[in-house]
Amino acid sequence: MEITRELFVIPKNDQFILYAPLEGSAMQVGGGVIKYLQQVQSGEDPEKLNRDLFTQLRNQRVLVDKQRELPPITNEPFAPTSVTLLPTYACNLRCVYCYSLGGERVGKVMDKEIARSAIDLIIENALEKKVNSVNLGFHGGGEPLLEGNMPFLDFAVNYFRYQASLAGLRGSVGAVTNGVHNQKMLDWIVQNIDHLSLSIDGPQDIQDSQRPKYQGGKLVGSYSDVMNTLKFLEQTRDRQGKSYNYGMRATITDASVSRMSEIVEFFNSISKNKSFHLEPLFECGRCRTSQARAPKPEDYLRFMREAEIKAKELGVSIYYSGATLDKIGEEFCGACGRNFFITPDGDVTTCLEVCRKEDKHAGLFYIGGFDSENKKFDFNTSTITNLKQRKVSSMPHCENCFAKYNCSGDCLAKVVEQSGSLRDPSNNFRCGINQGLLLDRLSRELDANINKPLAQQINEPPTQTKSC
């Protein structure tokens, strides 16, 4: 019997939180328990030392018979069963912080042959791997659901559903949108897209200043358009009377950070959703030429704490990608060599934030491209392997951080932009946010369990939420 190798000790007032993320266990303990563990670590027999404590710590998997092994990096070939298409770099908005400079250097809409080949590939992979579902997504680049893209979108969705149904696979279609659409497009969306993520930054002044519409060479507010979309989505029902499945995501800037509670309250007033995604801005793309600035991490943490109190009052929750209690793993997201995202030009990237060939990090994330002659995708195995090897357990800076398996090394694009290395988050401004919010959440859950009989302290593991 030994101490689980990934055990973290976090001081909390005159007590400590013991956190064993790989074992899914957290405890609030007195200093005597820490002393006991120190004695066990120095070689004393844990059972003889204190039988009761031994039993409890074994039940909580702080003491284990065998250390949990982390899954090895496999050499399986890249065989995605989901694809996300970036149909265009064109955009009807000019968001002040757009990572992909949507609306600039637009080029052409994705060729249908690229979509067709990608869909054929994921279906072939799904059949080969014997999985029963495939996913199609649309994302930016620019705004994927522009009316001008309709022929492409219609083709991709119909071809996907038909091929999936022929293969006996469950198929779902998702999209991210800025929400500025005419009625024809809105009708198309609710008929064709199973799940939509709507980007909206908050009340009118925030939305209009951060996400302006580009119309006739001028920047004008987008608030009324997005509200019209939101109202439509809220009112939409399927034949069973079920409401339309959509989510809302706000980018929090230095200008809006102090209003996070207000944003949550606003979202709650306009939507029946029970969870809202609030992500701090990372300065890249158009931030270089606009006044948009990231919030200071301490401000984001402070106002997120306030917003979480407000959310609790309202019976809703807030999602932030770097500090989830319900996701434990070694990879932050599918950018680690799993995603199959296709740019309008047919290049394959694993990261949406690196979707321009001229991006200085394209060499790290561009894992392949479409061969228009042979109508198939070619993949660069060594680039994929390099991404697959980016696991938090291989990142020395994170070695002793209690949040490591929750933030999973954090966002690859942000980490590499700040340090020049995928594996070095030493300059990552989100570390403090991730640690602070995770500690808050652990403390809150543990406080809620104090004085409860042990049997009632066994919480149901939370259900998995959406990806970042």
């Binding site: 820490i34 989901s82 038909y162 599918g334 998995q464 990806s467």
Partner: protein, 125 residues
């Protein structure tokens, strides 16, 4: 509490390497576990999505495009197309839109747009 590991999370020293391991220095305090929490155990994190399945029963997928640029729907030719693509109802793809509105999607350094077989293309100055 005399722990070397104590860190000031409020000030957040991002550049310092955090350490939250079992301390070497001795601690005092109660030998008690006051609260426990069971969380999700380790699993390989996946890019799971929560999109629900939407069955589009109005779909007419037997529609296909042939070399004569005609829409063929359930073996019956429907119409000739200027673009080799058929829509959901086995109608030919409509020509892309190049009115002022759609050209607004082009970038600030582009003078307008035109359509070709690949769809709408923005023109550079």
């Amino acid at each position: 509490m005399s722990l070397q590991l104590k860190q000031n999370l409020v000030n957040m020293k991002y550049s310092t390497k955090p350490s939250y391991r079992l301390p070497k220095t001795s601690t005092e305090g109660r030998n008690a576990i006051t609260s426990t929490l069971q969380l999700r155990t380790f699993s390989e994190r996946t890019d799971e999505r929560t999109f629900c399945f939407f069955h589009k029963d109005s779909c007419s997928p037997e529609c296909s495009c042939d070399s004569e640029k005609s829409c063929t729907c359930n073996t019956q030719k429907k119409e000739s197309c200027s673009h080799c693509f058929c829509d959901n109802d086995c109608r030919c793809e409509s020509a892309c839109s190049c009115d002022d509105n759609s050209c607004n999607d082009c970038g600030p350094f582009e003078s307008g747009c035109y359509c070709d077989s690949a769809g709408r293309i923005c023109k550079s100055d």
